[in-house]
């Protein structure tokens, strides 16, 4: 942890510096046009000041995004349609629902694949194919089909999240459940262990490290799924809807703050899984 602190800080400062410089470069044409129309010459410091404080900049500065986030997260009532907490929760609930469904589906599929040769051969290619279809093309179809049978709101978004998140779970768990070596399986056979006993006492504990890696990937994918699910549905709530409406009205600051909120949300969720992982690994004496 301490070892990585300095490099991370260095890179962060570097990124912020680049960001501010690009804000000047990208927003300067607007500032210069404005100055020309009012027949004024801008000094460099005036130019910088203008490019860093426009209402609809091409690239808002970090402090503008930070201020917008502060305003919409802490200053607005959480029930307000302009509160990012409100929109964040809408997206988070779909993310978590999709993540749980995806995890259950992924684990069940992995169990079937590991224990049944026919499932392995017949289902696995379809699982891989499923992830080659661009989700942006598929998401509207899922929403249309589900709404036609009466499912709207959280449900279609959760399904899209599930669609994205089950994949890393299946792949990781198949690998994890197959990670016991031949000796360990033979050992179990010499005790006449049933397939179920081998699963419970050997395969599942051995798959735990794989599971946590998969859960982190699945959680991130799930959030992406929920946001993508909000884009084509004309949703009015959620971080995705916030980004979309921001782009309609050229509210770049709004887009960026929704984007950062999503990123912070993803980092927190993945971090939470990391904390649980550290706890479980410690209890199970897993070293990595």
């Amino acid at each position: 942890m301490n070892n990585s602190f300095l490099p991370i800080i260095t890179i962060s400062i570097f990124i912020v510096l680049i960001w501010y410089s690009f804000s000047i470069v990208l927003n300067s044409s607007w500032a210069l046009d404005k100055a020309e129309r009012s027949d004024r010459q801008l000094s460099f410091s005036e130019l910088v000041q203008d490019t860093w404080s426009q209402k609809k900049p091409k690239l808002p500065t970090p402090h503008q995004v930070g201020y917008e986030m502060w305003k919409t997260i802490f200053d607005k009532k959480v029930t307000s349609k302009r509160s990012l907490v409100y929109h964040g929760w809408i997206t988070l609930s779909a993310t978590l629902a999709g993540f749980i469904l995806g995890t259950i589906l992924g684990v069940l599929l992995a169990l079937a694949i590991v224990h049944d040769k026919a499932t392995d051969l017949s289902v696995m290619p379809w699982i891989i194919t499923s992830q080659t279809i661009p989700i942006l093309a598929l998401a509207p179809m899922i929403i249309v089909v589900l709404s036609s049978i009466g499912f709207t709101g959280l449900m279609p978004k959760a399904v899209i999240s599930m669609y994205l998140s089950f994949f890393p779970i299946v792949v990781g768990m198949v690998k994890g459940l197959r990670s016991p070596d031949l000796l360990e399986i033979d050992q179990m056979k010499t005790w006449s262990a049933s397939r179920f006993q081998i699963l419970i006492k050997l395969r599942l504990p051995k798959s735990i490290p794989f599971l946590f890696t998969s859960l982190k990937l699945g959680m991130a994918a799930s959030l992406v799924g929920a946001i993508v699910g909000e884009l084509p549905s004309g949703a009015i709530a959620g971080l995705g809807a916030r980004m979309l409406s921001g782009s309609y009205y050229g509210q770049t600051i709004q887009i960026w703050s929704a984007l950062f909120t999503a990123a912070i949300l993803a980092a927190s969720l993945v971090g939470l899984i990391g904390i649980i992982q550290a706890f479980v690994f410690k209890r199970m004496m897993i070293t990595q």
Partner: protein, 260 residues
């Protein structure tokens, strides 16, 4: 075959299909193991000694010939808990402490709780590891881990102990110590032990019967009945009797091995 015979193999043949064509792992192998014997299987790699042990444990199925363990087929014998198997690696689960590792086969076989605790305590005493119940595998040396593995194989009171190069990965000093301990254990428990090794001194030191095997195809070259006394301090390895037997094993190995 006498009443005393516990393992009988007759004309066993076993072939593995590999990418390079079939490999004859066992060819016309016949052997009797009597109750209470300590039998070592020795030979270079590929001679089928491990395959023979695995066939006895029903981990491999011979293509032809007959094999009986305790008067049953190997599969039936396994279900009747006829043998405990000790592999080359201890195979302890890192997430279970020592007591729980020893308990593992007992849980699988469905022993009741109090019985399990008593058995774990008893077998850990047998391998001289009392007090290590709460330790985890990584806290134990390789030799200690292998002793836990032996305790685990003894926990359900099988009459036969099948051991596949159990000390192969350990250094010689630890090995000597464990060999001595194993002999004591064998005397006190009166088990029948089948022991695969490629160390001549180990085979001669431990065994009442030494089966010398040879590769391509895997077959038995010589069966030597050892007349060393039951009480065997490590120094016995310097006596003439010991050296004579070792010499006969070496000749068998040489005769069976064409060094092409």
């Amino acid at each position: 075959m006498t009443d005393n015979t516990i393992i009988t193999a007759k004309d066993l043949n076993l072939k593995f299909e590999t990418g390079d064509g079939p490999v004859v792992a066992l060819k016309d192998v016949s052997l009797n193991v009597n109750k209470g014997e300590f039998v070592s299987f020795i030979g270079p790699s590929g001679c089928g000694k491990t395959t023979l042990l695995r066939a006895i444990a029903a981990l491999e199925t011979p293509n032809s010939g007959s094999l009986s363990v305790n008067g049953m087929s190997p599969e039936e014998a396994r279900r009747h808990r006829a043998y405990g198997y000790v592999f080359q690696a201890a195979g302890l689960y890192p997430w279970r402490n020592i007591a729980k590792n020893v308990r593992l086969p007992l849980e699988i076989m469905g022993f009741d709780k109090n019985d399990m605790d008593a058995r774990v305590k008893r077998v850990l005493e047998l391998v001289d590891l009392s007090g290590f119940e709460k330790k985890f595998p990584w806290q134990l040396s390789g030799g200690m881990q292998q002793r836990v593995s032996i305790a685990r194989a003894l926990s359900f009171d099988a009459d036969i102990l099948l051991m596949d190069e159990p000390f192969g990965a350990l250094d010689e000093i630890v090995r000597d110590y464990l060999n001595e301990q194993l002999l004591k254990l064998w005397h006190s428990t009166e088990k029948t032990i089948c022991f695969v090794t490629h160390s001549i001194p180990e085979a001669v030191y431990l065994s009442t019967k030494i089966v010398v095997m040879s590769p391509r195809p895997g077959r038995i070259i010589d069966i030597i009945q050892s007349d060393l006394p039951d009480n065997r301090p490590l120094e016995i390895r310097d006596t003439k009797e010991f050296i004579d037997i070792a010499q006969r094993v070496r000749e068998g190995l040489r005769a069976g091995h064409s060094y092409e």
